[in-house]
């Protein structure tokens, strides 16, 4: 599908016009040395995120989404390009950026409240104050009453909410989420999407969501960057003009279906290419990417 047939789509060259973007990512290129030679994971990716905006980045497996997540979060170095948050050049982990990971990342030896209070403890807040603030964020993610429970006593969805509360407790300017609901079933994923929308509405939290789930991306985002299979480039930017506040009920609307179809038509091409390349590599004795 061409850009002309998609009124909500923009070409990758268009950088969204935002008066004061809080996150500016410019020309990121990341290469890895592999036994098969140099692999370009991310190729000249640029994006901006405005304050309070929810931006989704979607792409097939192997498109460099997680590499981009790690670069923006400051966990990966050795790349070309720049990452700026509120005009400050970021060259490593930064208090302005909060990260929620794909894998289960709660500390199993800490209770829910101690997990959420973790960044406040690191910041040196007095015990009473940090518990008070942590309790607020526990309530925000809907886990009131579970403060003294350990992560092993919670479901996967509840554990991800603990991770989210812990990240929010640090009050970052930007929250990065790397496929946070990937390990959850579809129903839990939709309901947690509701929770994210509710929090987003309440805190006006600027968020960058990395995902390969089209439904999730459309349900949550104001804008979606569709990435190509390796090397990862921004193929298209799709503005989501669905009304806010949203709930998971929106997935049954006609407009939602149109956005999903539109993004899938772009992704299908990339995912097919990725699958073919992986199969060819496997056939010739290498491990799939």
């Amino acid at each position: 599908m061409s850009a002309a047939t998609m009124p909500a789509g923009r070409s990758a060259a268009d950088v969204p016009a935002s008066a004061e973007p809080i996150l500016v990512v410019r020309d990121i290129v990341k290469r890895f040395e592999t036994p098969d030679g140099i692999l370009t994971a991310v190729d000249h990716v640029s994006l901006t995120v405005a304050p309070g905006e929810f931006v989704g980045v979607i792409g097939p497996s192997g498109c460099g989404k997680s590499t981009l997540f790690n670069i923006i979060g400051g966990l990966l170095d050795g790349y070309d390009g720049t990452v700026r948050v509120a005009d400050e050049l970021i060259k490593g982990p930064h208090p302005s950026i909060g990260m929620i990971f794909q894998e289960e990342s709660t500390f199993p030896w800490r209770t829910v409240i101690d997990n959420v209070a973790f960044p406040l403890e690191i910041a040196g807040l007095p015990k009473t104050e940090r518990y008070e603030r942590a309790r607020h964020f526990v309530g925000l993610v809907g886990l009131n009453g579970f403060e003294r429970r350990y992560p092993t006593e919670l479901s996967g969805g509840m554990r991800q909410r603990v991770s989210m509360a812990r990240t929010l407790a640090a009050e970052p300017k930007i929250m990065l989420m790397d496929e946070p609901f990937a390990a959850l079933d579809e129903q839990t994923r939709l309901l947690l999407g509701d929770k994210v929308l509710q929090i987003q509405q309440q805190l006006k939290q600027t968020t960058l969501l990395i995902t390969h789930n089209i439904t999730e991306a459309v349900q949550l985002s104001d804008r979606i960057l569709v990435m190509t299979y390796r090397p990862g480039k921004v193929k298209r930017i799709v503005d989501i003009h669905l009304p806010r506040p949203r709930t998971s009920e929106i997935v049954s609307s006609e407009a939602f279906g149109r956005y999903v179809a539109q993004i899938w038509s772009d992704l299908r091409e990339e995912a097919t290419r990725g699958l073919s390349e992986d199969e060819a590599k496997t056939l010739h004795g290498g491990a799939p990417a």
Binding site: G74, H94, S105
Partner: protein, 257 residues
């Protein structure tokens, strides 16, 4: 009501089953010895062994010997824990050190270290230091290796959470790596302390010095089999004390695994 009764039954059932099985085996051994299936000159009757307890407490000064062995075991445990965990941390922090020594440490863990007691006798003399050092030497390698394994096995995502919160190296270690590695470290401590205790009692027996090992040696020399077995029960008691303390320490440091 009936549900709560059955839960209460279930909670006690494993304990009752374990204790009952133990008692049944003791009774069976007693019967087999009495009817001559087991030779009473090799294995004493459990009833004789029970009667030997007050005798060895009164005549063989067993409580003082129990204290000596317990103090030696406790001292070796402290040394094994402090040096072993520090060693594991150093091997984790310095890759070159790890590459250079890990195989050697693993080899030491598998070696019959009790054979070096003559060397320690020469170095430290025939005293409690030799016994403690033998326990320490035998228990060290598993603690080092398990500490290293625990730290290396910390999930990458937990380390990344720490990095995302901009933790210092020290915070990263104390707030994430160490608590994450604790369950594996305690596996190492249990193994190390088992090796230490075996060696402590073994060397007491071999050099005929100190606590319960020496008593077992003397009682065996006198062919006092009920007394020997009763003394062995005190060795088991030392082991139980060490492990109860270790378990409490683990529960205090990490309430949930």
């Amino acid at each position: 009501m009936s549900a709560s009764v059955s839960i209460a039954k279930m909670r006690w059932f494993p304990f009752v089953l374990g204790f009952g099985s133990f008692a049944a085996i003791i009774i069976l051994v007693e019967i087999f010895i009495r009817i001559g299936v087991i030779n009473r000159f090799i294995v004493p009757m459990p009833s004789e062994m029970l009667r030997a307890f007050p005798r060895i407490v009164a005549e063989e000064n067993v409580l003082s010997r129990f204290r000596d062995t317990a103090v030696e075991a406790f001292s070796a445990s402290i040394l094994v824990s402090v040096v072993g965990i520090t060693g594991g941390v150093l091997l984790y922090q310095f890759r070159l050190l790890r590459a250079a020594t890990e195989t050697w440490v693993a080899a030491v863990a598998a070696a019959p270290l009790v054979l070096i007691y003559p060397l320690y006798l020469v170095i430290f003399g025939r005293n409690a230091t030799t016994i403690v050092m033998m326990g320490f030497t035998a228990g060290l390698a598993p603690v080092v290796l398990k500490t290293l394994e625990g730290l290396s096995g910390t999930r990458r995502v937990l380390i990344n959470v720490g990095r995302s919160f901009n933790l210092t190296r020290s915070q990263q270690f104390w707030k994430i790596l160490f608590p994450a590695a604790l369950p594996t470290i305690f596996v190492g401590l249990r193994l190390g302390l088992i090796f230490a205790l075996i060696n402590i009692v073994g060397v007491e027996f071999l050099i005929n010095f100190g606590g319960l090992g020496q008593l077992i040696n003397e009682l065996a020399e006198r062919y006092d089999l009920p007394g020997t077995y009763a003394a062995i029960c005190f060795v088991i008691l030392v082991s139980v004390c060490v492990f109860v303390l270790l378990e409490r320490l683990e529960r205090w440091l990490r309430p949930v695994n």
